[in-house]
């Protein structure tokens, strides 16, 4: 246990996020003059080089972890940069830690991120904001690496917000179109709602632990202190349940789950490499990572796990049904991403953390490949995104077509490709886990069928059949340059081989292939639920193989239906869209009217509330202020009257009296000398007479 408490110091780990940060700083501050002086080439190479360097460091960290005994591996490598917040009992450092889970994440982020950077140098080549794009992209890489490497909830939250900001900036990258700016704002605001829950969850955890004297946000200390939460209750709910539910609210925002998934399809307004990097491979998986990171906490809250599983399954189904009817090539992939994220949450919810993270990794490969492939198609079509105007591109875009097909097969769950292993691990867990339920398994399998249908619908509409594009668009069709196709091939290869890291026991056991991925994550997520179930006996293995066969059959059914509808054209798709009066079709085409519902309830509601509070502010608050002002004005008017009429009045009466008397008295000064003489004489005579009369009396 003591080894768990003492991670191995490894200063170079800090460079993994800091190198892309340096790249972002250089590009962000000096990008414009550099681009003017040296052109776009060096900008693109700098951006790719920083992520490439991070990838190499991530590989070094991975290799170092491989060489450590499992217990020390669980504690991981840590680079403690500097003390950040030391207030009261709260002690948080800026420290980056690599443990098996982080190692997977940083390899995905820097590896797939690096490929997408490379691809973007081709895709964005004609954009004047080239430097700005790569500054954001590097900044995003930094933020995402902070998210997965931060050794405390607080640092994770910094990365969490950082990726949210970069997501906003990159969705609205072509900000001159108000629709793009609106999409960015929508993403940011919806995420804000989730972040609110996330912050409350952090507060609740810290607050409760602090009351026990273990106030901490460090993951490894949280893990040790978590048992203290077991008996705690708040408002009649267990604190672990409440805290994990709040954190899950944050995850639904960031990872696009019901009810906060609405931003992700709109986020496709951003450039396609952004959709691939942020809105498919990395950022949206932050919620999955967070649950995996705090799996010890979620394991204490079965109610939350049940909510997570149900929300995941429901989102998977809802998004898959919407994807069936979309005609925008990127919208289909966006809903597909929402749906696949639902799978991952389903896995987390049934306690199969390893399977969830495994699907996260395989999904990153094939979904990035699909998005980049769609970008290549859009690039070739001169910006066209409507699949109804595509078709027959297989011959024109051979590399894109082949890699797209490989990735589609992988996501469909074609046996022995990556998606097959990860998806079946989830479905098996949904069925067999103590937290699972056969209903969840059935939902997941239905979604597998839908996924196969809409993905092959897309492949058939885009790459097969007649080309429905305008003649001059057809004339300009061309395969993308090597800088874009090489990442596609690498990702396609990943979509094939990544699955072999997690061969299920039922298949791998007999031929001696171990489940590498679960064993790798075991120090973080604890012993796998699956391992216990899978190792139970031959009967269980038989069930697992049977379920696998069912899901493959369902997927094959979906592919067949897509082939019938969109290649053979018999039955015509219109028959389906017209079924039941066209109501189901219109519902899924219009995304179940969820956006309209949110608009009516939340946006209008918020505006109405704002109007109400504005009214209150104007008439009550301002009324109070104005009333007080009027009262003061009245009192001062009275005081003014008193001053004018009483105080000034007294002064004026004295002054006026003096004036009047003086006016009268001045008449005495006649200026005539004779008058004075008369007065003098009479005065003397009068005085003498007085004196005599006085003298005579005495």
């Amino acid at each position: 246990m003591s080894a768990v408490d003492h991670p191995t110091p490894a200063a170079y780990v800090a460079l993994i996020p800091l190198v892309p940060l340096a790249g972002a700083a250089v590009l962000g501050l000096f990008g414009a003059p550099l681009q003017k002086r040296f052109g776009k080439g060096p900008i693109g190479w700098l951006a790719c080089a920083t992520v490439g360097a991070s990838f190499l460091l991530a590989v070094v960290a991975f290799v170092q972890l491989l060489g450590m005994p499992p217990q020390a591996r669980g504690a991981g490598l840590v680079a403690d940069l500097f003390p950040w917040i030391h207030v009261g009992t709260l002690r948080v450092d800026v420290a980056f830690a690599v443990d098996p889970l982080s190692a997977v994440m940083i390899l995905v982020v820097t590896g797939i991120g690096g490929l997408i950077h490379l691809y973007a140098t081709g895709y964005m080549h004609d954009d004047p904001g080239f430097w700005r794009f790569f500054a954001y992209l590097n900044l995003f890489t930094f933020a995402m690496l902070t998210l997965v490497l931060g050794d405390s909830l607080l640092l994770l939250f910094v990365g969490w917000e950082g990726v949210g900001f970069c997501s906003w900036a990159l969705i609205s990258f072509w900000h001159k179109d108000p629709a793009n700016a609106r999409a960015g704002n929508k993403a940011f605001i919806v995420n804000r709602v989730g972040d609110f829950g996330f912050v409350l969850g952090i507060f609740l955890l810290f607050w409760t632990l602090d009351a026990h004297g273990h106030g901490t946000l460090l993951f490894r200390e949280l893990r040790a202190a978590a048992p203290a939460l077991a008996g705690e209750r708040l408002w009649g709910v267990g604190v672990p349940t409440l805290a994990t539910l709040l954190l899950f609210v944050g995850a639904t925002g960031k990872s696009a789950q019901i009810p906060l998934y609405v931003w992700l399809p709109d986020a496709m307004a951003g450039p396609t490499p952004v959709s691939a990097l942020i809105h498919a491979a990395t950022m949206v998986t932050a919620g999955i990572y967070m649950i995996g990171r705090l799996s010890f906490l979620f394991a204490m809250a079965p109610a939350t796990l049940w909510v997570v599983a149900c929300v995941g399954a429901a989102t998977a189904l809802l998004a898959a049904t919407i994807a069936v009817a979309q005609n925008d090539i990127k919208k289909v992939l966006a809903y597909s991403t929402v749906s696949q994220l639902g799978y991952m949450f389903l896995a987390m919810g049934v306690g199969a953390y390893g399977a969830g993270i495994f699907h996260l990794m395989t999904h990153a490969f094939f979904k990035a490949c699909l998005f980049l492939g769609s970008g290549s198609v859009i690039h070739a079509m001169g910006g066209e995104q409507d699949m109804r105007k595509m078709g027959g591109l297989w011959a024109k875009l051979p590399a894109t077509g082949k890699t797209f097909l490989i990735a589609t097969l992988a996501i469909t769950g074609c046996p022995f490709l990556a998606g097959f292993f990860s998806k079946d691990a989830i479905l098996w867990a949904a069925y067999a886990s103590p937290h699972g339920h056969v209903g969840l398994w059935a939902l997941g399998t239905a979604v597998a069928g839908l996924t196969a249908f809409y993905m092959f619908r897309q492949v058939f509409m885009v790459f097969f059949g007649e080309c429905r594009a305008d003649p001059d668009v057809q004339h300009h069709l061309h395969e993308s340059p090597a800088v874009m196709t090489i990442p596609l091939w690498v990702l396609a290869a990943g979509s094939i081989v990544a699955g072999y890291l997690g061969v299920p026991h039922a298949l791998g056991g007999p031929v001696g292939i171990p489940h590498l991925f679960e064993r790798w994550l075991e120090p973080v997520t604890g012993p796998q639920v699956l391992a216990e179930a899978g190792g139970a006996g031959g009967g269980e293995v038989g069930v697992e193989l049977a379920l696998m066969a069912i899901s493959v059959a369902v997927a094959a059914g979906g592919v067949l239906l897509a082939w019938l509808l969109y290649v053979r054209r018999r039955p015509d798709p219109a028959v389906f869209s017209a079924a039941l009066g066209g109501v189901p079709y219109r519902l899924v085409l219009n995304k179940w009217y969820v956006d309209e519902l949110y608009q009516a309830v939340f946006v209008r509601g918020t505006l109405a509330l704002a109007a109400l509070t504005a009214w209150f502010d104007r008439w009550v608050i301002d009324g109070l202020v104005n009333g007080a002002a009027a009262a003061v004005r009245g009192v001062s008017a009275l005081a003014g009257l008193f001053d004018r009429w009483v105080v000034d009045g007294a002064v004026n009466v004295v002054a006026d009296g003096t004036y009047v008397v003086g006016r009268r008295l001045r008449r005495l000064q006649t200026g005539a000398v004779t008058t004075y003489l008369y007065v003098i004489v009479l005065g003397v005579l009068g005085s003498v007479a007085l004196w005599w009369s006085w003298a005579g009396a005495s």
Binding site: R667, L668, Q669, G671, A672, V673, T674, L677, V681
Partner: protein, 103 residues
Amino acid sequence: MGELAVTHFVVLATVLFALGLFCVVTRRNALGILMGVELILNAANVNYVAFARYAQTGYDGQLFAIVVIMLAAAEAAIGLAIVLGIYRSFETIDVEATDRLRG
């Protein structure tokens, strides 16, 4: 009768004083007023000298009379200077016309 008594001088001085006073209060000419003032002063001098002669009290009375003569000379000098100033300002020495100090 025959013998001059102090009463005669007192009567003379009284007449002189009355004439001077009359002159001072009735004259409109500033020089006339100054002359009236001289008459009043001299009426006082006559009294000083007469009472000094008949009361046999030494020469105090005579001394006072000389002081008054000196005083009258000084007064005449200043008074004439004022009259000259009045004339410069008003082109007249009629005191009824010089009423610029009227309040």
